[in-house]
Symmetry: none
Subunit: 139 residues, 4 copies
DNA sequence: GTGGTCTAGACCACA
DNA sequence: GTGGTCTAGACCACA
């Protein structure tokens, strides 16, 4: 399962799902044509109300990332991979920018901030299996 | 003025105010005994409803950061500085951790993430004080 | 319904609600895990604005007495019973102390005050359960 | 000085002054014709804004308890003593009733409440010099 | 249905 | 002038 929901980070749950679907597509964990887990199953696994999953999937359809295959479920659209790589870059960049802006505004120095980032990377990176990145560096 | 409100970053306005007051105290921009700008004035300057300011200030009182001086205004409590330095550390650490967890989950490597952080630092820190950076700002 | 609001006794409405929720928990009228009546319903029954109810509930959350179950309502926290028993003792003791201090200051004797208390107990306690009183109710 | 102001008991400051003037008159600490301390002096002694004292004194004039003597100050009205004795009875009875109602509502028994009253009397009565009471028992 | 946030505007006590 | 409380009503996320 490629979703992990954090109900205390201020990001709406449906928004977290939207982001993570895009990330999984950028990642090629989900490839064009591939079906997503059903709303019912996801709702059980994440202990999230189906309406919330639905709302996320509807937004992904309206953005042309997912498409409905009658009677089969929701599949990743053709050409979504590239767009999701771009979207990932943008989504993460925005959030990182917002956090760093707050930290600078709070009076921390570059060095303070970089130290905190490294510390968090040390803590969190170990917890995830290392995956070779398909990340496209900032333009 | 030491407040800057972003109505689109998912963080509630009153919560942003709470954080920034704590930051300003940690910063010694606001010192114990000092009066805060009045609710009405802040409300005008930030174009935020007075009730929203009030809610933030109520929370800060309940946390022992501010105290009400009847008819005069709200003042920073004695001993708030140290506690706010701790709070600042915690608040920023949490948010940075959340963003980095998301970035790792999205498949980025340590190096990808650090590169994005440096890029943002160059952009944002440069807006304040270009000299302090040893990197060439990208603009 | 375990709430009774008096809009003319100087105590803020939201504060009366906070106290009475704690009393009901101390009382075991409300037990840990149990859901409270919804804001909308309480607001109708008490003829009080929902925001006022909300404010009381917010405070109870910040004190760790209630917790929000997303989309379901507000529940009594585990372990709240004991803390509310202590809080009840303290809240009532404070108010009784304040009234007695005023009565003594006004020149009444211990005996005067105790007589007034007995009289009030006879009147008010009789309204609930006349049998429990060993005094003859005055009215 | 016969005033003692408690800014944390929920009763408005001007209301506390009104009550205590009436108590002092009921008590014969203040007798008809006698002048009250000036607003300026009271304001200094109580560390209360003169406007607040003024508001209390205006209410006492409008109730016929005090009268203005041109160029001399405010004096206790003729016949105020008896009315203040009645008022004292009523004011204290109301407040005591309100507290006892709350305690009963909170689930305490008569015995619980009387025990708390006795305990408070033991604590507080010692602090005040014993004064023979001119208290009129409940009708 | 649930609570959470925000705006708009009133009235009050106090300095 | 200051903050504190309350009402009225809107919109949102979630179950």
């Amino acid at each position: 399962m490629f979703f992990s929901i954090d109900t205390n980070n201020g990001v709406a749950i449906y928004e977290q799902i939207v982001r993570q679907v895009k990330f999984a597509i950028a990642d090629k964990t989900l490839r064009p044509g591939q079906l997503l887990p059903s709303v019912r199953i996801l709702s059980q696994q994440l202990a999230i109300n189906p309406n919330t999953i639905n709302r996320a999937f509807q937004q992904l359809q309206s953005e042309g990332v997912l498409e409905s295959l009658r009677g089969r479920g929701l599949a990743v659209c053709e050409g979504a991979t590239l767009r999701c790589v771009g979207a990932r870059q943008e989504l993460l960049s925005e959030r990182i920018g917002s956090v760093i802006a707050e930290a600078l505004h709070a009076g921390l120095t570059r060095e303070d901030i970089q130290a905190m980032v490294v510390k968090k990377l040390d803590t969190l990176d170990g917890q995830v299996e290392t995956i070779s990145s398909s990340f496209v560096p900032p333009t």
